[in-house]
């Protein structure tokens, strides 16, 4: 079908452990009608090189051992699966378990992918990595991996975001990275990706583009998922060990969709496990200010892949909005578009208000400050629980896992503003 991507037999090659009807380990370039490589010819050779390097690495025990070692001894994996008992009470008594990606080094799931891709960059002999970042999580993770492996690192970040996330800019700089504010377009994540792609075109000989989400042209969606599959594989083993069975539902937040595809992967072939992806509903999907790409978007191409996309009737990308910078992206990974179309995963919007209510609830019931991104998954859990109970499920026999994809330290400023904490403090001082 696609003789020029350099991997004609990929569609057929699946690990022996997966049955032929399996949804796991889909190799790309296509996921149903989605995916592919809608990008400039100048970059195709680099994408081919990356794909060949990735395919060879996956089959190389030494590489697999390197990734395992870094995951265990650097990131701190496996991450815990914590039963959130007081949060569960607020969720009507269903049993809620949290997959604690917030406990990884650098504070989110992002580290899984950056370590893997930085290793591949070294294998390709590249000396420089570039990355895009919205809130700064992926930028910090990339700067971390670069420092660890002795690579030069340049991070593109919307100028608007560099002002909102000044501390994360400082973190990246402390780690030795150069942060370039992007003033083009809407000055947010999508424009940071555009600028990173422009850099990559000009410097592709020495530079690897360390894309932070399961989107982009082939092999990025399949590759980023591969490095995050560990989330779902651990969660599946842990829930069986702790609860004695598979969960009834798994919930994750979706921006580009990397944490979600990682945890879903472990359960895709377990038909009895319902999977839910929660998109950023912003001010509400009846307003123009949201990032509910699958809920309201239409198929199109952006940043190298065909997928759902927030676009106008002319095919111009619509600017997204979310209180969570990490979900503030008008596209979504192509594998999610496919899983939505076949009905395996349910995608729903969560508003800023719903997310912040769930954020507050987790802080006060569990002593865990979640990332605002992850709070969308927590708000989703409350909805799933209410529906299941209304449909007659016995609460204490219902198990839901939420992927707590990151910690909320970076969001304290936003949350303090949202809950008027700074104003009241100022008043108290008077």
């Amino acid at each position: 079908m696609n003789p020029m991507t350099g991997d004609p037999d990929q569609g057929e090659s699946k690990p022996a452990s997966a049955p032929s009807h399996s949804l796991r380990h889909a190799a790309g370039p296509y996921f149903g009608d989605y995916g592919g490589r809608w990008m400039p010819e100048s970059l195709i050779a680099a994408m081919d090189e990356l794909n060949e390097t990735f395919e060879a690495a996956k089959a190389d025990p030494e590489f697999i051992a390197q990734v395992k070692d870094l995951n265990k001894n650097y990131s701190g994996r496996p991450s815990l699966l914590t039963e959130a008992k007081r949060f569960s009470e607020a969720a009507g008594g269903v049993r809620v378990f949290l997959k604690r990606e917030d406990l990884n080094h650098t504070g989110s799931h992002k580290i899984n992918n950056v370590l893997g891709q930085a290793l591949l960059a070294k294998r390709m002999g590249k000396t420089r990595i570039i990355a895009e970042t919205g809130a700064g999580q992926h930028g910090v993770a990339s700067a971390t991996a670069a420092a660890l492996m002795g690579l030069e690192c340049v991070v593109y970040m919307g100028a608007e975001d560099t002002r909102r996330q000044a501390l994360n800019v400082a973190r990246m700089q402390l780690l030795g990275a150069t942060v370039i504010p992007v003033t083009a377009g809407s000055q947010t994540l999508k424009d940071a990706i555009n600028e990173a792609l422009r850099d990559w075109v000009a410097n592709v000989g020495t530079t690897h583009y360390l894309l932070g989400t399961a989107a982009g042209g082939h092999p990025f969606p399949a590759m980023v998922r591969y490095f995050h599959e560990v989330i779902g594989e651990e969660a599946r083993e842990q829930i069986i060990a702790q609860a004695g069975r598979l969960p009834d539902a798994v919930a994750a937040c979706i921006g580009g969709g990397s944490n979600a595809i990682g945890i879903f992967h472990g359960f895709l072939d377990d038909a009895e496990v319902e999977l839910y992806g929660f998109e950023a509903g912003g001010d509400g999907i009846d307003t123009p200010r949201h990032a509910a790409t699958i809920t309201l978007g239409k198929p199109g191409v952006l940043h190298g892949a065909k997928s759902y996309l927030m676009q106008d009737d002319d095919g111009q990308t619509i600017e997204s909005h979310s209180i969570s910078a990490g979900l503030d992206y008008p596209g979504v990974g192509p594998e999610h578009a496919y899983l939505a179309d076949i009905g395996r995963v349910h995608y729903e919007p969560i508003t800023d208000t719903e997310a912040m209510d769930a954020f507050s609830l987790l802080c006060r019931t569990e002593g865990i400050i979640p990332a605002i991104e992850s709070s969308h998954a927590l708000a989703g859990v409350l909805k799933i629980a209410a529906r299941k109970i209304a449909a007659g499920a016995v609460p204490e026999e219902t198990i839901i896992i939420a992927n707590l994809s990151g910690r909320g330290d970076k969001d304290v400023g936003t949350a303090a503003e949202w809950f008027n904490l700074i104003d009241s403090k100022a008043k108290d001082a008077k």
Partner: protein, 264 residues
């Protein structure tokens, strides 16, 4: 078997005069719709063989800041994709230049590849130059361009392998667009040495017409590149001229590039 190529004919006519074809770019709706038409006509009257009208797009990853700024302005003024067809009609009603459209792929996909192609042909457009569509993903466009007799210009780059060069040349009609440098659009003082190698590789892969773009801004570039290629593509320098000095400046620069006296 394949339709007659309008851009191929324009390049052949230039070749018959012993010179490379001059291909001039400007973005649709910049400085406004009428201004695009007027500037394009001025280009045609001053030596442009092919006019390349770019559709402004929200995420132009192959463009540098000059073209980005112009397209941002066009979109901010409310430019709609369908207006590109009015612009083509406006140009072709006033001069005989061949008009191509350069576009990122999503606006075409959104309108529908067949519908876009039908309207492009109906407006008198010669075909499409597609900076972010590679032949691997172009099945629908191959079909529509055959159906409506449109040229399809794909890009080749210094990084293109021999196999990809062959496949891309085979998929193209009219000419292949040789990217002179690994980078985005923008005027450069010198045109990269890589350009000659890309053109040679395209010719070796069977391209009848290999034209060079990216970084070309001066008459001396046209002469240098024209010595080994079939056409020279100028964008950023003309967009900057249009922004700074309006239609007169475009006429003057085009005349300079083509080595002629200015004609009003």
């Amino acid at each position: 078997m394949s339709p007659v190529s309008k851009s191929g004919a324009a390049i052949a006519a230039a070749r018959a005069e012993g010179r490379p074809a001059l291909i001039c770019y400007l973005p649709a709706g910049f400085p406004d719709v009428q201004g695009t038409i007027d500037a394009a006509v001025a280009m045609a009257e001053n030596g442009a063989d092919i006019i390349e009208v770019g559709i402004p797009y929200s995420d132009p990853v192959m463009d540098g800041s000059v073209i980005q700024d112009a397209t941002v302005q066009s979109l901010a003024q409310g430019f709609k994709v369908a207006q590109v067809f009015d612009i083509i009609k406006g140009i072709t009603s006033r001069c005989s230049a061949t008009v191509m459209v350069m576009t990122y792929w999503n606006p075409v996909l959104r309108m529908g590849v067949d519908e876009f192609s039908r309207r492009l042909a109906e407006a008198g457009g010669a075909g499409l130059i597609t900076p972010d569509l590679v032949p691997d993903e172009a099945a629908e466009w191959m079909e529509a361009s055959d159906k409506y007799g449109l040229d399809r210009v794909f890009l080749v780059a210094p990084s293109s392998t021999e196999a990809r060069m062959k496949a891309t040349v085979a998929a193209s009609r009219g000419f292949v667009y040789c990217v002179s440098v690994m980078g985005v659009t923008g005027a450069r003082a010198e045109v990269s040495d890589a350009a000659a190698a890309v053109v040679a590789a395209a010719h070796a892969a069977g391209a009848e017409n290999a034209c060079v773009g990216l970084g070309v801004s001066q008459r001396k570039h046209v002469e240098e590149i024209g010595a080994y290629s079939d056409g020279v593509i100028v964008g950023t320098a003309l967009v900057a001229a249009l922004g700074d000095g309006g239609v007169d400046a475009v006429a003057k620069l085009t005349a300079e590039l083509s080595g002629r006296a200015v004609s009003a």
